[in-house]
Amino acid sequence: MNAMVEIQLIAAVTAAACAIPGVFLVLRKMALISDAISHSILPGIVIGFFITHDLASPWLIIFAAFSGIITVILVEMIQKTGLVKEDTAIGLVFPALFSIGVILIAKNANDVHLDVDAVLLGDLAFAPFDRLLIDGADYGPKGLWMISVILVITLLLLFAFYKELKISTFDIGLSSALGFSPVIMHYGLMSVASVTTVAAFDAVGAILVVALMIAPAATAYLLTTDLRKMLVLSVIIGVGSAIGGYWLARWLDASISGSITTVLGLLFLMIYLFAPSKGLIAVLLRQNRQRKEVSLLTFLLHLNNHDSIEERRVTHLQEHINWRKVRANSVLKLAKKNNMVTIENQVVSLTQKGLTFTEKALDYIITNEDEQIEDMKDDFFLFRG
């Protein structure tokens, strides 16, 4: 394997490992806590490094994960006092722990390969230099092994506890009543997030690891309404962005981690705009159609209520029903297209189909019974939720 492939592999595996806990953090509305963890594991890494003098030692991960958990506990303790809200508590805890890490590095680690830049931004380009050597044989970069092991553990935990994670995320009360301790699931997830953050740290740094956790999940959330698909999509988006980001970095001759994050951000923006049902454009189009359909219904109800020819003249309708947002003509067109009205000599009449539609809609307005409009939901946004 050459260095190019190895870097891409490390980036891809890191992205996959981050995306999985990221999905649950996003669904639990805890995206910010991943930011907190990614910063406050620094003192754990530094202390671990002082003890082992090896940046790739598993002990570093254990120390760092431990400080991640301490972060979560501290945030909860401060929040429980009731004096400040959760976001404030997070804002208080992680800078404090991070600054301890920064001071420890500055005081003691000037002569070693552990500087603040590397901590913040990662060193993906150098990751292939640190090899796993056993009896002189080269088994590839240590970083790749570390993050792969974590990905495998994360996947195993996900498969084993998928149901428990789902229920404790969706309905904490029922989860607790059924005996699936939400506290255990919470700290389990936090431990996985902490461990993954530490391992990803080397590759992408403290700031960008947050993007790898949150952006794929946030993007996938816009694309699906199924948790399994959301998990799969997050992984695909993360891995795709990691590899895309690598090539972008080569092309721009820029930082790999920065490029990966840029790709993630751009991808989110595209999906945010163009996602089929939750995307901004889809929402605007839907609102526009809904507005038109409300006008159509108003129009049909008016026709239904008024028999006289005077009341049904096209010119009268345009004046009488005072539409501001939708042009009277577009509503007329919509009604004609659906064969709900006919126009003869500038007089509008309801067709049989128009009449049935109007009566059904009236029935629904009066009774509010959903069953009545089930078949109308396919054609009209107006009646969907």
Binding site: T169, G173, G179, Y221
Partner: protein, 245 residues
């Protein structure tokens, strides 16, 4: 013969930040009743249910479900939380939410399979929601969401059902559908305990009632204890006089 006691609450006190929300509650609920828990806002009605189900820890007292601690009797109890307590934008379907009711019987790690799916579909049919099984839960109306929650409790196939304001934000049709299902449960010998807000419907819907306002005021058959005296004790005003004004 004395009826079995389904739920026995003994000297229960619950506090949030050292402020008691429930104070020294003694309560015993016989098997087979359909009971409303009524009381003003902040009376601790939801808290009482949560404390019985071990969701929050009391600072004193104990709870027994058929004579044993709740932890040993989880399979006998179903719970419908308040609709507002979950995120309805969660990426999941109506069927999947109902399947969650089977998780308790499955235990840790085991996955739901075909038989759990069958139970869930049957429950959806019972609440008239089968046509919506694959719909994402945010696309359901408030009444439909409440029916899904009820179906989820039905698949738990329990002996005791706790429901936290199942009529909140539902239309009249759904309210009637829900109460009919609750009455069916009682006919089948189940015990149903409902946190309820609408005093007008208590005599019509329920056969037992508990008055609660931080302290336990009264529990008994509606026909015996649903009276001015207890309403005044619970709500601090003469309820009927206040309504007339």
């Amino acid at each position: 013969m004395e009826p079995n006691i389904a739920v026995a609450v003994d000297d229960l006190t619950v506090a949030y930040n050292y402020k008691p929300v429930l104070w020294d509650i003694d309560l015993s609920i016989p098997e087979g009743v359909l009971m409303a828990i009524v009381g003003p806002n902040g009376a601790g009605k939801s808290t009482l249910i949560k404390a019985i189900l071990g969701i929050i820890d009391p600072i004193a007292g104990s709870v027994a479900i058929y004579g044993k601690p709740y932890k040993k009797q989880r399979d006998k109890v179903a719970y419908v939380p308040q609709k507002g307590s979950v995120d309805w934008d969660f990426p999941t379907t109506a069927l999947d939410v109902v399947m969650m009711g089977t998780y308790g019987a499955l235990g840790w790690i085991k996955r739901p399979g075909a038989s759990q799916k069958k139970q869930a579909l049957e429950a959806l049919e019972k609440v008239g929601m089968l046509a919506f099984k694959n719909r994402q839960i945010s696309q359901l109306s408030g009444g439909q969401q409440q029916r899904v929650f009820l179906a989820r409790a039905l698949v738990q196939n329990a002996a005791i059902y706790f429901m936290d304001e199942p009529f909140q934000g539902v239309d009249a049709t759904t309210e009637i559908a829900i109460i009919n299902i609750l009455k069916e449960l009682r006919k089948a010998g189940k015990t149903v305990i409902v946190v309820h807000h609408d005093l007008q419907t208590v005599p019509e819907y329920f056969d037992w009632v508990t008055f609660l306002n931080v302290k336990h005021i009264a529990t008994g058959p509606v026909k015996d204890i649903f009276n001015d005296d207890n309403l005044t004790k619970t709500y601090g005003i003469n309820y009927k006089v206040a309504v007339q004004q």
